[in-house]
Symmetry: C2
Subunit: 338 residues, 2 copies
DNA sequence: CTGAAAGCGCTTACAG
DNA sequence: CTGAAAGCGCTTACAG
């Protein structure tokens, strides 16, 4: 055996005077109920030990269909430069769960190879046993191919595309938003203003859906350029608005705009007007009434769901996680009607 | 082709009416100067596209070509829960470079499979073409095996183990620390106190080395339990210490301890005493004199070095990156000697 | 220019 | 109970 080349089963077999397959059986534990004569087993193990044998993982994987690698395809940089990004906790959850299930994680950045999310880039995920997807949009054609071919995949975040055939683990923004608005209603608020960004991804649509369910009369303002004129906010309060509900997304644009306008207008919460956020505002602003988005759990559950799909377990392929309310100090009882 | 099974070269060959080997040659680019009739090539490529073919990375690797996957083995969680962690920028740099080189990234967590960094866990990295390692310590035996067998690997951070045969990309803490202390000397400081944590990993040892080179007389204090008594600091200043140099690590323990002691003692910088940090303190504390650690560049260069190693380019296998000084406002001219 | 064969190192039926 | 064979999906000599 030349130096520099790791020993293989064939080397052991030759020295121990048995077949390579026998070595495989002995070293692979006693799977499939195969039994070996003790003497044979002993000799094989001894030679293996002597040679410092270590199985070649690539060969092992090729011979046994699975790779124990799951993919993570992001339609953006995997590691956001802005660490405060809500995306980060998802990664933590994904990694945690993957490790606990003995799965390695393959990162596909999509931007690899120049073409932005070319069909070829997406196809590459097949190198793993299954793949997690994360991003605001679904490139229909390539994803459809994967789903149709039975390739196990799970979206992180609710999806309705492909006639609802995409497995996902999302956050229940509808219920959380409705509950939050209902709690405002319970505090006596009857005239609510709802501010959201100008983006129609599912998380935004779901929040609006929830708000409308709980407060059909709430008037909606879509932020055009991410800013809100001071006078507009003043006008709302003058006209009887007692509570403002703001969408919260990765960028936090809507919340920031409202917060700035309120500050500039000299309006304080909850005294002059109540404020609730459909999520969590950026960390420095503690105490804002809203709800928690279980990002980490979403990542973890997505991995578990994916592995269930890969191993063909019976499972619920579309899951919505609850977003626990955050009490906060920016929403209070509505003033008595004048 | 049954649904659920990804297409393989044999499928393409059958449909295109050529041999599997021909498919391999066409799809593998025109290696080995093999040429194909344009018509054959076209047909194969077309069928491959139709079928959404993607090479099986494990088979590719076993047949001893490349997979274009590079591994990242961390002796800890890949995504630190504490995002402020210095480790994060390294990841950003790694991903950026990997994407730009068309390499997918495989995350190996080491903790996978229960055993902490068992030899088996480390062996798994052979699935990739090469692997980046990151962590304070080097598990000698498994790493030695990899290196001996010629498997390409690169450590992020300087290593001296295995008789200096481990390729790495590190930060030049020695020079940066020496320069920082020299700059204090230039400001007139002659009695310098050096505070470090009680850990002997290379980054700590290198910093100490640099400090000692520039100021052989500097007295060293090793932090026992991460705290520094107020009286101790008062005593230093009373005894003529005009500058304190503090080690900076991930935890920031030493800096935090010194900062707290100074505050508690009512000593201000740079008026009562100058303060310099061997790195960057945690973000909220801006303006501290110290130096930048090029984490992101380290990650990026490590990837480039690894790919060079994989493709057997001539290259410098051990690189130390410069840490640019940060002027800051906590170090000033030493008071005139009394 | 193209195909058939051998082989990468292992696992898993399948014969003896 | 054990060995020889086939095969995982690919690449790379080697013949035609």
């Amino acid at each position: 055996m030349p130096p520099g080349r790791p020993p293989r089963q064939a080397d052991i077999a030759r020295i121990a005077g048995v077949s390579q397959a026998t070595v495989s059986v002995v070293l692979g534990g006693n799977r499939a109920g195969v039994r070996m004569a003790d003497e044979t087993r002993r000799r094989v193990l001894e030679v293996a030990e002597d040679l410092g044998y270590v199985p070649h993982p690539v060969a092992t994987r090729l011979a046994s269909a699975r790779t124990n690698m799951i993919g993570l395809y992001t339609f953006r940089t995997t590691f956001p430069t802005d660490v405060a990004d809500s995306y980060y906790p998802i990664l933590v959850g994904v990694e945690e769960a993957a490790a606990s299930l003995g799965q390695d994680l393959v990162l596909f950045t999509g931007t690899t190879g120049g073409g932005t999310h070319s069909a070829a880039a997406i196809r590459r995920v097949r190198i793993a046993d299954g793949c997690l997807f994360f991003g605001r949009h679904v490139p229909g054609e390539p994803i459809a191919r994967l789903v149709d071919s039975g390739f196990p995949l799970v979206y992180i975040g609710r999806r309705h595309e492909l006639a609802g055939r995409i497995p996902y683990v999302g956050a229940d923004y509808v219920t959380a938003s409705a509950d939050l608005v209902t709690s405002l209603h319970d505090l006596g608020h009857r005239t609510i203003r709802y501010v959201r960004e100008n983006d129609d991804a599912p998380p935004s649509a779901d929040r609006e859906h929830g708000v409308r369910r709980a407060a059909p009369d709430a008037v909606l303002t879509r932020l055009e350029h991410g800013t809100l004129p001071v006078d507009t906010v003043r006008g709302w309060v003058r006209d009887g608005v007692t509570a403002i509900v703001v969408e919260e997304t990765d960028t936090g644009a809507a919340y920031t705009a409202v917060r700035r306008a309120l500050d500039a207008a000299g309006l304080s919460t909850p005294d002059d007007v109540s404020l609730a956020v459909l999520g969590r505002p950026p960390t420095p602003d503690g105490g804002v009434t809203g709800f928690e988005v279980p990002f980490r759990a979403m990542g973890g559950q997505a991995v578990h769901l994916l592995v269930d799909l890969i191993t063909e377990q019976e499972t619920v392929p579309q899951r919505l996680l609850r977003c626990p309310p955050v009490a906060g100090r920016t929403a209070g009882a509505a003033p008595k009607r004048s």
